[in-house]
């Protein structure tokens, strides 16, 4: 998608201490062939993996987590500024929120000029989440993180004895997000990024369970047609994203994101050289996305 020429895609990874955020970042760095930069929160998991991340390439920047009254232009602003000026610009960045952060406050930076937000992924520690949700000290922190997610990755599936109970609990906290389960934070990158991701050769067979399909058109779409199309999307479509024009204000490029049943449509902050027309990609399990998925858009 040519959106990435106008802006850098931001994916925020949140989740409580020990949920597997760092492992996910490593997984992405290992699997993705596209250049990815990662922003690591220096306040997150105290984990030897962060050293591994930092040694992968020169594309990681440690964030500092100063309180606003201490360092006004905080770590995020200066790190994003640095990435914006980098040559060549990375196509994607992954930002790790601290283990106690509300990922929404980090995701807010993903709308700065030069960037657009892909999704908020929240890692959930399958082995400990029920305990965390009953711990008066951390329950609210964990619940807010889960409620903020677009994509919930129920990690450590192998250590989980009662999968259904946990899944139902997550559903209670966030009915609309897409819930996927994994071990070792191995999420399918197509699902994570909502589009076809060029992966390195060493991809496990298990990873390619998803198909993606795309739609391009040139005429602006009406808001109503878009909403109706979303409502009628088959359940198999777990992920959709794109950039499009609405007929009410066709000069404004709009970024569309859908994860599970959560979706939003926001203007692209940077409007220099924006992509033209409408480009939408959907992702669903292999062979299950119907041919006519985009009828409503045509």
């Amino acid at each position: 998608m040519s959106l990435s020429q106008a802006a850098i895609e931001v994916t925020v990874v949140g989740g409580y201490l020990g949920a597997g955020k760092t492992t996910l970042m490593n997984h992405i760095l290992t699997e993705s062939k596209d250049p990815v930069a990662v922003l690591i929160n220096d306040f997150g998991d105290i984990n030897i993996d962060s050293e591994l991340i930092q040694s992968v390439d020169g594309n990681s920047i440690a964030l500092t987590n100063g309180c606003i009254c201490c360092s006004l232009v905080d770590g995020y602003v200066s790190a994003l500024e640095e990435l914006r000026c980098r040559e060549p610009r990375p196509k994607r960045i992954i930002v790790e929120a601290s283990g106690v952060a509300d990922p929404a406050s980090v995701a807010a930076y993903g709308h700065a000029p030069g960037f657009y937000l892909n999704a908020v992924v929240v890692m959930v520690d399958g082995a400990n989440v029920m305990e965390q949700l009953n711990d008066s000290l951390v329950a609210q922190t964990v619940a807010v993180q889960i409620a903020t997610a677009d994509l919930i990755a129920l990690n450590k599936k192998d250590l989980l004895s009662d999968f259904t109970t946990v899944r139902n609990e997550l559903k209670k906290l966030n009915a609309e997000a897409l819930i996927t389960d994994c071990t070792n934070s191995e999420i399918d990158l197509d699902l994570l990024f909502g589009s076809e991701v060029v992966t390195k050769a060493a991809v496990s067979v298990e990873m390619n369970q998803f198909d993606s399909r795309s739609h391009t058109s040139s005429d602006p779409i009406s808001r109503q047609a878009l909403t109706e199309w979303i409502e009628r999307l088959p359940d198999e479509v777990q992920r959709a994203k794109g950039v499009l024009r609405l007929d009410e204000e066709p000069e404004i490029p709009m970024v569309f994101q859908l994860v599970g049943r959560r979706w939003n449509l926001r203007a692209l902050a940077e409007r220099k050289n924006p992509p033209l027309g409408n480009q939408i990609v959907v992702v669903g399990p292999k062979g299950l996305v119907p041919e006519d998925w985009d009828v409503g858009l045509r």
Partner: protein, 559 residues
């Protein structure tokens, strides 16, 4: 020191905070040290000394120690102040409070007229909408000041800013701006208010100008002048300076080495601000130890590590035990936020504790105090250590039971007494309710439970003025004039101890400052009236003549 002339300061009264000799009328100084103290007629003292009687009508005390402020307080004075409460700037000029939006606009118009370059951004600070009735400040008000010059008004909370139309235009903020926190009017147009850092950072020029001002050399000088003007001779910059960054140590060194720089500064090491790898707390501790062991000078001190564990009570982000908040805003989650995962605290505290450092941890809520106290208890069990002086900072809701535990663990507290005046009414009515508010900032409980404590302003959160902070701890009077929890009032002597010797204790400087004794540094606060003699409710009105720091006299600036 030997061979230098001895100066004998004669005063109306000298309060020493040394129980052996509680008062005196003359104090002999050689170089930067006290060499004698006693009666002004004592021939032994007068012998071979130059008599300096400029303080013969004044009261001398051990120099006040403000153990929790931020150098940012000095930096903000690069810009005009538009807050609700009156504030004195480093030059001694009194900035009257802006009681409504009209006076905010009026002040900005006045300031704008004097600005030369018509394209230069006008930045102002200190706005607190909680106190202003009627409309909220918006771009339309600021457009009355200028439509051509960008304007950025930074709120007192540090979480919000209001900008004018020109700033929005320049920053690309319009009705389509996708960033959450760009507040809109009924028609969907942005109204100039930017909430939280991500939205504020869209007006990057405004925010980064403030950031630069805070870390500037002028900020450090102004911080020193603010301290001097209120009689403070040692001040802690509690975790603003990013010591791990290049140039920061040198910048402080340059300023504090100047003979005219009027205050000793304890620059705390901010754990969260290190920029280092998270695996390396021990390395961070090593850096903090190295600063303390190798880089200290007469007026620049280290050895304190600052942690921030929760948010603020007035921002509904402090971690409280049940029943949590009294009347929180709609949509509030119930409790506040952690800034460090509670499970990580034992490990973090233990690293610094093992290294021999003193940990000062921001805990506004009692649940935060509890997590910190438990972390200290664990660290002590694993690494027994005498006299660590780990300190609960703010300690606003710390309970009697927690103080008891702190006493048994050898912990200290630094209590945010200024809150009683500035937000006491809001605490009673909105944040924690009348019962809990009555036992907030519980100095008398700390005293009863034998915890050494200090009292602070957290400048710039509230203005630095030790006599005002003392007045708060002694009177517990809110802005509306109510007495909040009279049982937690303390006596003037205790409040003075909290502002001198006990504050020095928690900064680990009590062997050098905090009381007037032979061999200690010649740091004095010079007052024009005796705090033991004035009525308690008049304490904050005592004029401050100035200070003496290491024998050097610094007169306060006055308007």
């Amino acid at each position: 020191m030997n061979g230098e002339p001895i100066k004998l300061f004669v005063a109306k009264k000298i309060v020493t905070m040394d129980p052996a000799t509680p008062t005196a009328t003359a104090i002999a100084v050689q170089g930067d040290r006290i060499v004698g103290i006693g009666d002004s007629e004592d021939p032994e003292l007068r012998k071979a000394a130059q008599i300096d009687d400029r303080f013969s009508q004044h009261i001398l005390l051990p120099g006040f120690v403000e153990a929790h402020a931020h150098v940012m307080s000095g930096g903000l004075w690069e810009f005009p102040y538009v807050g609700f409460y009156e504030r004195v700037d480093p030059t001694g000029r009194i900035w009257k409070g802006c009681g409504d939006i009209e006076s905010v606009v009026e002040r900005l118009v006045e300031y704008e007229e004097q600005m030369g370059d018509p394209t230069q951004t006008l930045i102002a600070w200190g706005l607190d909408p909680i106190f202003l009735e009627g409309d909220r400040l918006s771009a339309s008000h600021l457009d009355q000041v200028s439509r051509t010059r960008p304007i950025f008004v930074f709120h007192a909370s540090g979480h919000l800013a209001t900008v004018n139309s020109e700033m929005m235009l320049k920053s690309g903020i319009d009705r389509h701006s996708p960033t959450p926190g760009v507040v809109r009017d009924g028609d969907g147009e942005p109204n100039g208010e930017l909430q939280e850092p991500a939205a504020m950072s869209l007006a990057l020029e405004g925010l980064s100008s403030i950031g630069k001002a805070i870390m500037s050399t002028e900020a450090k000088w102004n911080f020193g002048y603010e301290a001097r003007n209120c009689g403070v001779t040692t001040v802690a910059d509690l975790g603003t300076t990013r010591l791990a960054l290049e140039g920061q140590l040198e910048a402080w060194r340059e300023v504090t080495d100047e003979k005219n720089y009027p205050v000793r500064v304890v620059v705390a090491f901010g754990h969260y601000d290190s920029g280092a790898s998270p695996t390396d707390i021990d390395a961070l501790a090593g850096l903090a130890v190295r600063l303390r062991n190798e880089e200290e000078t007469a007026k620049l001190r280290f050895g304190i590590v600052k942690l921030i564990l929760d948010g603020s009570i007035q921002g509904f982000t402090a971690r409280l035990s049940p029943p949590h908040y009294f009347d929180p805003p709609a949509g509030h989650q119930g409790n506040g936020l952690w800034l460090i995962p509670p499970e990580q605290m034992p490990k973090i505290v233990a690293s610094y504790h093992k290294a021999g450092l003193t940990v000062h941890c921001h805990c506004n809520g009692d649940e935060a105090s509890e997590v910190f106290i438990e972390a200290v208890e664990k660290a002590l069990a694993e690494h027994p250590r005498d006299d660590h002086r780990h300190t609960v900072q703010h300690s606003q809701l710390t309970t009697a039971k927690q103080y008891k535990k702190m006493a048994s663990l050898g912990m200290n507290a630094n209590i945010f007494s200024n809150h009683i005046f500035y937000w006491g009414d809001q605490h009673a009515e909105i944040t924690v309710g009348p019962h809990r508010a009555a036992s907030m900032d519980a100095c008398a409980t700390a005293e009863r439970e034998n915890v050494k404590f200090s009292i602070h302003s957290d400048a710039p959160i509230t203005p630095m003025s030790q006599l005002h902070t003392i007045w708060c701890a002694v009177n517990r009077q809110t802005a509306s004039g109510k007495i909040l929890g009279p049982g937690e009032r303390i006596g003037i002597h205790k409040a003075l101890e909290a502002s001198t010797i006990d504050a020095a204790h928690q900064l680990r400087l009590d062997d050098e400052i905090g009381s007037l004794q032979v061999g200690k540094l010649a740091d004095f606060t010079v007052l024009e009236a005796d705090p033991y003699e004035v009525k308690p409710d008049k304490l904050k009105e005592i004029p401050v003549w100035g200070t003496v720091v290491g024998g050097v006299v610094h007169q306060a600036a006055s308007d």
